[in-house]
């Protein structure tokens, strides 16, 4: 177990190192840096000024030097500063974390609360009309782009209440607070709930065919007890993996949803920073996302062992 943890941890570091290299190189491929953009929009070209600003930002140094400065700073807790706002990257990223985390957490809870029970029902009633309806519903959940769903929700708000929910940091009332997080969260979580439902269904179908389920029925256990206590518990293994992966991959859904609902979170900030060529912000945000993904994958692997005693980690 100890050796496994060390090896896994080493691989995580290796993956993060690879991501940092890829992101660093990709961003430097972009034609034109922030200074070019500033000067283009200002319309003045004084090469001396330009060179001075490039020097201030460290853009005149060689790429390996710039990379070393970034990683060296990160190790010491210094993320650099935003080219656009000139605030420290941490001051820009930090306050946005709770906004996105709350949204992602609510979305995931929504997805699990909808996906798991509906998946169980769909499997227990396999090939019934209800099963077909639920399957079509989950397929459409995977097909509808979440930004369109968000736009439709906003349009519904306009039609029903004559106004759009505008995100504010301090919500005035309880209902408003719930509405402002719950509605965008449901929009993001809809896709994940469809995925979780599909997976729960197929995992349940697999388990329901096993002998011990027939035994449980034969000894007269309540069908509900068989479905939830005997079957679901054993079907959860692949579902947990997908929930873990979705938790990390919600970032993709957040990007468009935060943009649609004008929520000042990390994901919308990433898009803005990419547009502005704000390298320090993009680099650090991408690393943060990658860090979350590898950490969650790691936790899911450990949970595997806890959920299924047959799996011996590192054995």
């Amino acid at each position: 177990m100890g050796a496994y943890l060390v090896r896994r941890f080493g691989l995580m570091l290796l993956t993060l190192f690879g991501i940092s290299l890829i992101i660093f190189v990709l961003l430097r491929l972009v034609p034109g840096n922030i200074v070019d953009i500033l000067f283009d929009s200002a319309g003045m070209v004084n090469p001396a000024d330009k060179a001075r600003i490039e020097q201030e930002l460290g853009l005149d140094r060689s790429l390996p030097m710039q990379y070393a400065a970034w990683i060296g700073g990160m190790v010491q807790g210094d993320l650099g500063f935003s080219y656009v706002s000139e605030k420290s990257a941490w001051a820009e990223i930090g306050p946005r974390i709770p906004v996105s985390a709350r949204l992602a957490g609510t979305a995931l809870l929504f997805a699990i609360a909808i996906g798991v029970p509906l998946g169980v029902i769909s499997a227990v009633r396999q090939n019934s009309a209800l099963d077909y309806a639920l399957r079509v519903m989950s397929l459409s959940g995977l097909s509808v782009p979440s930004f369109w769903l968000g736009l439709l929700v906003l349009m519904a708000f306009v039609a029903l209440f004559g106004a759009m929910p505008i995100y504010t940091q301090e919500s005035r009332t309880w209902t408003e607070a719930i509405l402002l997080v719950l509605v965008p969260a449901a929009t993001v979580g809809f896709r994940s709930s469809a995925l979780i439902m599909r997976l729960t269904r197929s995992a349940m179908l697999e388990v329901l065919r096993q002998d011990y389920i027939r035994t449980a029925h034969a000894k007269g256990a309540y069908p509900r007890a068989v479905n939830y206590r005997h079957a679901l518990r054993n079907a959860m293994l692949p579902v947990v993996t997908v929930i873990g992966m979705e938790a990390a991959f919600l970032a993709g859904g957040l990007i468009v949803t935060e943009t649609v609902f004008n929520i000042p979170g990390l994901a919308r900030f990433l898009v803005e920073s990419i547009r502005n060529r704000d390298y320090p912000i993009v680099q650090n945000l991408v690393m943060l996302i990658a860090f979350l993904v590898v950490t969650i994958n790691f936790v899911v692997d450990l949970m595997y062992a806890a959920l299924d005693p047959r799996i011996r980690v590192g054995g």
């Binding site: 993060l16 890829i22 399957r135 097909s143 782009p145 369109w148 991408v286 996302i289 993904v293």
Partner: protein, 277 residues
């Protein structure tokens, strides 16, 4: 092979998906003939025109016919979807078979590289890629195909490892066939089924990724009538006054992805015996 009608009876949802896809592919191919207007001609008099008999889906802020733009948009969506899936599949299969067949340090390096690429959500990677390459149609295709490669290569590698243990591969080795010949003659044809399954499943997600990128303004640039682009800033702006700007392009995306998903599900049930119930 069973006849189409029998297949349709066994997989009703898959048949619906196939019909939807045929309609979209038909629209993409015949857009020039079917579309009532040019997707690019602007007409100030028609700005934000309501849907009517002449313009069943209305017109956008620049007075362009939305139905015609959606029909032409099918070209962009399907072209990006199909080409990026093909590029992703081509590299994924080559790398997957090589990795599973050669093994050793090569496999190890490839596995670490796929770990790295898979540590970022598809949209995040595609977003950064697309920004790095600059907005254009070919660059969007590349940006979307690269996140696909690790997914395909993982599946194909696992399949190759399983195939290597089978008797027919062992007997081919015993007869003195070269490894390359075994890989091409025996392994490759047997990866076709999982490849078709994963490619159709991914086709829908590539269409969605393209729509998201274009929606964010980092995908297919103007003047191409991309569905995602049609929904970007302008649509949100006119959402109150001209809801048809939002409804129809989104419907097109959802239907196209729904079609590929249903088709993909049916193909998986048909081609993957382990999933058969």
């Amino acid at each position: 092979m069973a006849r189409p009608l029998d297949l349709a009876r066994r997989f009703p949802l898959g048949a619906v998906g196939a019909v939807i896809m045929v309609v979209f592919v038909g629209a993409a191919i015949c857009a020039d003939v079917v579309a009532p207007f040019s997707p690019l001609t602007t007409n100030p008099a028609l700005s934000l025109a309501r849907p009517d008999a002449l313009h069943p889906f209305g017109a956008d802020a620049m007075g362009r016919d939305i139905l015609s733009r959606i029909l032409h948009g099918a070209r962009i969506s399907l072209a990006v979807g199909i080409f990026s899936t093909m590029i992703g599949a081509l590299f994924g299969v080559t790398i997957g078979i090589a990795s599973g067949f050669i093994g050793g340090w090569f496999d190890l390096v490839v596995q670490r590289l796929t770990d790295i690429l898979q540590a970022l959500p598809v949209l995040v990677l595609a977003l950064v890629m697309s920004a790095a390459l600059g907005p254009s149609l070919p660059n969007t295709i590349i940006a979307i195909s690269i996140p696909l490669i690790p997914y395909v290569s993982r599946v194909i590698r696992a399949n190759t490892l399983a195939l290597r243990e089978l008797a027919f591969v062992e007997s081919a080795e015993a007869t003195g066939m070269t490894r390359w010949r075994i890989a091409i003659r025996h392994i490759l044809p047997n990866t076709l089924a999982p490849l078709i399954v994963i490619a159709t499943a991914q086709l829908g997600s590539t269409i969605l990724t393209e729509a998201s990128l274009s929606f964010l303004g980092l995908g297919v640039p103007e003047p191409y009538p991309s569905w995602g682009r049609m929904l970007s800033d302008s649509a949100a702006e006119y959402m109150r006054t001209a809801p048809w700007l939002v409804i129809f392009p989104g419907l097109a995306i959802s239907l196209a992805v729904f079609g590929t998903n249903m088709l993909g599900d049916a193909l998986r049930d048909l081609l993957d015996p382990r999933q058969r119930s």
